[in-house]
Symmetry: C2
Subunit: 321 residues, 2 copies
C-alpha cells in the first residue's frame, strides 16, 4: 500500500521500537537517510536501531557520533532507500525480508515488497523524502541531522550534477546548509578526495576505455587484476562509473567491474532520453532513468556483446529523432 | 573608494552608456556576471556594451542569445570580476586601464585601480554580488539572467566544492534554480563534459604527477609537447588544476603549464589553512586563499625548485600546529 508523507509521519509518531534497515554496499543516501531519521525519532522519544547487511565504511563515522543504539526487540521494521529485499543482504533478507512494514524510497524500480511504501520516484534521493518526513514529525533538524541529510542529497545527485537534481534539491540543500550541515567537509570526503590507490585505479580504468556506435557509447572495464596491481578494491569504483559518460558525445557510459567469481557488475549511465533502467532491466537489473545497474555472468567479451546488443536499439532510436 | 551594494545600485541606475569589461581568459564568473548585469541594465532602459580582451568561447554562446549590443560611445566603464587592469588584456588596458569608474569584484587581491570598487572578498563569485545588485536595481531576474548568474556561482565554486562556498552560495543557487536557471545543462557543460582531446590530456597530466614533502604537495606539469600529442590546448587545462589537490593527504596541489615562450603559468590549490594567495604573491602573482596563480619564467626544474622553496615554510607551519 502506498502511503503519503503525512501518513508516514503519523505512523512513525504513533509507533515505537523501530529497526531501520539500509541497503548493502551502503552509500551516502541509505546511511544518511537512516541516521537522520533515527536521530529525529530518538529525539521524539522513540527507541531506534539501524542495521545494514554490510559494514559501514569510515566515511560514515561522523553520522554515528555520540549515538548509542539501545538493545531491544524491534516491533516495526522500516527499510530506507531499499528498492528490493535482496538489497538487505542474505542475513537481513532472511530475517526481515518479508517483515518490512514500511519502505521509504525514491527508486521507480521498487518491487513494492513492504506492507506500506512511501515512494517518490521524482525525488533525487531518499534523503529529500526523509527531510520532509522529519519536518512533518516536527523534530528539530540539528546540525548533525542536517549533515546526514546533506550527505544523502549530495551523493545521490553526484554533487548536484546528475539529471535527477531538481529545484527542490537545491532548496533543500540550501536549507540544510542554513541548519548547519557541514557541507564543505561532506563534499570533500565524498567527491574531492581520491586515495592514492584510487588515483592509480582511475588511470588504469581510463586506459581501458573503448568506444562503440560512433563514439556514442563508452565502456571501461575494471578487472580483479587491476585491484591487485593498484592495491585498490571494488569500494573505490563508485566514482569511476561516471567517467565514460563524461566524454563529449557519449550518450551511454558503462563501467563493468569483474567480481571475484568472474561475473561482471555493470553500471550504466546515460544522457538525455536514453533509459538506463530499461537497458538494465532487460539484463535482470534495474535503477533510474539516468543511472542503473545489472550483473552479467559471462566472460568479458560476452558481457560486452550482450550490453551492446541491448544498447544498440536505444542509440538507434535517438538517431531517428 | 569602496562603495556599498546600495551605492553601486544607485550609481548604475543614475547613469547610462555603460561598457562592461571582462577579464582575459574569460571564465564563467566574469562572463556570466557581466552578461547578467548587462541584461538587467538593458531592461532598465540603459545602453550597455560588453567586451573582453579574449574571444568568448562557444560554451558561453547561450548567454548572448537574442542580445544585440548597440553602437555608442561609452561614458562609464565598469569592470566585472577584474582584480587588476592587466587582466583586461593589452588592448583594453591601454584603452581603459586608467578609466575604470567602477569595479565589481570578489578578489581580496584586487589592486583597487578603479575610482569606485564594490568588493566582497568573502563572496565565492562576482555573480553572487551581481545577483544582489540586480535585486537592488529592481530588475527582473529572467531565466536567462538566472542562467548567467548560475554559471558564475557554480563555476567559481567548482560546482559547490571549493571552500569559498557558503550558505549564501547555496541560497542564491536555489533561488536561481527557482527563477529558471538551466542548472542541469550549465553543470553538464562546465563540469561533466570532457572533450576527447581533454580526456587524453588528462591522462598525460595524471601520469606527470609527482609528490613532495611526504606526499603533502603534488605537482602536475602540462607541456606544449602534450598539447601536440593530444590535439588539446591550454583552454582545456582549467579542470586539471584541481586534480593534484584531490589526492588524499595533499595539502598543496600545483598545476604548471608551459607557455609558448617556455615560461610556466602556475595554478596553486590548497587545503585548510594554507594560503595559496600568499605563495603566489611571493612569486609575483595573486588570487584567493584556496586558489591562486603566478607565472614563472624559468626552466621546468628551476620553476619546481622555486615553488617548493615557497611551499616548504607553509607546510612546515602546518606541522607545528
Amino acid at each position: 500500500m502506498r502511503i503519503s508523507l503525512k501518513e508516514t509521519a503519523d505512523y512513525l509518531l504513533n509507533n515505537d521500537k523501530y529497526l531501520l534497515l539500509c541497503h548493502i554496499s551502503p552509500d551516502g543516501d541509505t546511511v544518511g537517510s537512516a541516521l537522520a531519521l533515527a536521530r529525529a525519532l530518538m529525539a521524539k522519544g522513540k527507541s531506534v536501531q539501524v542495521k545494514c547487511g554490510d559494514k559501514f565504511t569510515k566515511d560514515f563515522d561522523f553520522m554515528f557520533e555520540g549515538l548509542e543504539f539501545p538493545e531491544f526487540e524491534p516491533e516495526h521494521i522500516v527499510a530506507v532507500d531499499v528498492a528490493d529485499p535482496k538489497l538487505l543482504g542474505d542475513k537481513y533478507m532472511g530475517l526481515y525480508g518479508d517483515k518490512v512494514e514500511l519502505c521509504i524510497d525514491h527508486h521507480a524500480s521498487n518491487v513494492l515488497y513492504s506492507d506500506m511504501v512511501c515512494i517518490e520516484p521524482d525525488s533525487a534521493s531518499a534523503a529529500e523524502i526523509v527531510y520532509l518526513i522529519i519536518r512533518m514529525i516536527d523534530a528539530e533538524i540539528t546540525p548533525i541531522i542536517a549533515s546526514c541529510l546533506f550527505t544523502g542529497v549530495s551523493t545521490d545527485t553526484g554533487c548536484f550534477r546528475f539529471s535527477n537534481t531538481t529545484v527542490r534539491t537545491f532548496q533543500i540543500a540550501a536549507r540544510l546548509a542554513e541548519l548547519g550541515a557541514d557541507t564543505y567537509n561532506i563534499i570533500q570526503t565524498f567527491f574531492e578526495t581520491k586515495t592514492k590507490t584510487y588515483a592509480a585505479l582511475e588511470r588504469l580504468a581510463l586506459d581501458s576505455m573503448r568506444f562503440y556506435f560512433s563514439d556514442k557509447c563508452a565502456i571501461i572495464c575494471i578487472t580483479q587484476d587491476m585491484y591487485a596491481k593498484t592495491g585498490s578494491n571494488e569500494t573505490e569504483t563508485t566514482m569511476l562509473a561516471n567517467l565514460p559518460r563524461m566524454v563529449e558525445g557519449v550518450l551511454v557510459g558503462i563501467m563493468m567491474r569483474e567480481l571475484k567469481d568472474g561475473s561482471f557488475k555493470v553500471s550504466v549511465r546515460t544522457h538525455g532520453d536514453i533509459d538506463a533502467s530499461a537497458i538494465c532491466k532487460r539484463l535482470g537489473g534495474g535503477g533510474h532513468m539516468g543511472a542503473a545497474a545489472c550483473t552479467i555472468n559471462a566472460t568479458k567479451q560476452q558481457a560486452i556483446n550482450l550490453l551492446l546488443k541491448e544498447i544498440r536499439p536505444e542509440i538507434d532510436a535517438i538517431k531517428l529523432d
